[in-house]
Amino acid sequence: MLSMGLNNAYIQQRLTDKFPDQVTGFEEPFGLLGFSAPAVMNLKIIQFLYEDEGLKFRFLTDLTAVHYPGKQDAELAVVYLLHNLVDNIRIRFKVYTGIGKPDIFTATKIFAAANWMERETYDFFGINFVGHPNLVRILNVDEMDYFPMRKQYPLEDQGRTDKDDEMFGRS
């Protein structure tokens, strides 16, 4: 019965009741409820979203990361896209971590699918998923000694003047 009225407002209420100070930054771009939490809380919140009878976010649609070089001590964001298939509602959950020690608890114990998704995220962003059973590179070569999707690794020669940032609207 709880799930009959599952909507963004209800999810937000449940999360605020359960984690009053930790879950913040609620937003609804294009109807998708998004929020964030401190990095250490990621597993507790995912577990709650999974197990709570009123929420039941039991499908991990996607897991990836974003690099925001300007955010002091929160340069890397790990993004979880979760789906409640019964009520057909999605949420986007972000946790931020500093680039110096990017430790995040693994979600592999809850979702088998997180295994490769986390390996890919490690491979490209260098997120250290603590507790992951096999955290090694997956798409890049093993010998690679950097994390290529970080913003400090530009795709093209920055000396080129025909394709510099100014041309792309960034200064």
């Binding site: 294009f30 649609t61 990836t64 974003v66 298939l85 890049n140 070569v141 795709l155 041309m167 792309f168």
Partner: protein, 404 residues
């Protein structure tokens, strides 16, 4: 005098299993990826997958490309059904821009996407046939994939990596040849599909080779984030076209076939039934399309949709936008959007972050086969080597999509 012997690895004499490399370039893998199998006789007791051989850094490339130049990148994900990837990307951009396309464009897109789904499914199912020793079906349906590719060719000029459509619609209207080829396809293909199914569905050998092979329960499939026909074969009726209808799917009448056992046979049946549903959707979309004004094939989006060449030469505004589009000087609005479509092998998602610049700040592709391939070792545990090959082709793995 010192004796020289072959140095064996420590404990290798005691080892009772055989290590076997399946791939990376074995013809039965239908793509460049490797499985290191641990065999006890002919039984598989362990498997490790190695992927990434054709990784092309699509997500990194996307961060330096104007939005319209990302469409050709999406071609190269699941290249058996490129139009779905292209249109999924255009829909993502339209969501970010808040752009509404004319109804006729929605129907045109449904027709193209369902053709792509048919071409993808018929390849997958006929390759399952090839791997079980029945080559005929493959050659038989291939003629009709050719016809589908000819339809693409009439619209966009290419066949495999289509780059079909634009943000806002299509680059050109469907011409008479498109409609006559569609007529031919709709008239002839049902008979071919029926005959293909007659060859396989109740064929004793085929059934023995596929029933119970590579099975997965609904619960495990969900935990592994399966989507598409692989999930539906396990009995879960999740389909993006129904859960979050896009284009014209909300007003079409169709059914979502589901299986029970999640094995290779059920996956085969689900795909066959989806082909019939796709044929029905194409028919419905064509009927509805006839009621729309025939000259409309794109939205009015001058900043994203290239003006006709004669306008570029004669009108100032068209010339300015042409220049800005080609030079990649269009600023997209800032926003964070996730959009997904039902790809031929599962939920194909685009997670796009725009910071208001001329290229994406971050673009991530949710690639269904990258996600479900990790279940492969579990699916083939205890199976025979020949079953592992069938299981792989019935999962519809596309290396291009997996490695991005």
């Amino acid at each position: 005098m010192e004796e020289h012997h072959i140095r064996l690895k420590q404990d290798s004499l005691q080892k009772e299993t055989t290590t076997l490399n399946l791939g990376p370039t074995h013809p039965a893998t239908h793509g460049v990826f490797q499985n290191v199998l641990e065999m006890d006789g002919e039984r598989i007791v362990g498997a490790t997958s190695t992927i990434g051989y054709i990784h092309r850094a699509f997500e990194k490339l996307s961060e330096r490309r104007p939005y319209y130049q990302i469409t050709p990148i999406t071609d190269r994900l699941n290249y058996c059904s490129s139009p779905i990837n292209n249109i999924g990307w255009h829909l993502t951009m339209e969501k970010l821009l808040g752009l509404k396309v004319p109804r006729r464009v929605d129907y045109m897109r449904v027709i193209i996407m369902e053709l792509a789904r048919i071409s993808d499914h018929l390849i997958c199912n006929s390759v399952v046939g090839v791997d079980s020793g029945a080559y005929t079906g493959f050659l038989y349906v291939m003629q009709y994939r050719e016809l589908i590719y000819e339809i693409y060719e009439e619209i966009c000029g290419s066949r495999l990596t289509t780059n079909i459509g634009r943000i806002g619609g299509f680059e050109r209207n469907f011409n008479d040849k498109v409609f006559s080829k569609l007529d031919r396809f709709q008239k002839e293909y049902p008979g071919v599909q029926q005959e293909f199914e007659n060859l396989f569905t109740h064929n004793r050998i085929f059934m023995d080779r596929t029933i119970g092979v590579g099975a997965i329960s609904a619960e495990r499939a969900l935990n592994y984030s399966f989507t598409g026909p692989n999930l539906r074969a396990a009995g879960v009726d999740y389909d993006v076209r129904v859960a979050e209808p896009y284009c014209a799917y909300g007003e079409l009448d169709f059914q979502i076939p589901v299986g029970k056992t999640g094995d290779c046979y059920d996956r085969f049946l689900v795909r066959n039934e989806e082909i019939w549903q796709s044929l029905s959707m194409i028919r419905q979309a064509r009927e509805k399309m006839e009621k729309e004004p025939p000259e409309v094939f794109h939205a009015d989006a001058p900043a994203y949709y290239l003006a006709p060449k004669e306008d570029v030469y004669t009108k100032m505004e068209a010339l300015i936008y042409h220049f800005k589009i080609v030079m990649g000087e269009i600023d997209a609005p800032a926003g964070e959007v996730y959009h997904c479509v039902e790809g031929a092998n599962g939920e194909l998602g685009y997670y796009l972050i725009s910071d208001g610049g001329r290229t994406p700040y971050r673009l991530h592709f949710r690639r269904p086969c990258f996600i479900y391939y990790q279940a492969y070792p579990e699916l083939i545990h205890g199976a025979l080597l020949s079953d592992a090959v069938i299981c792989m082709s019935s999962l519809n793995l596309i290396a291009g999509e997996m490695d991005a």
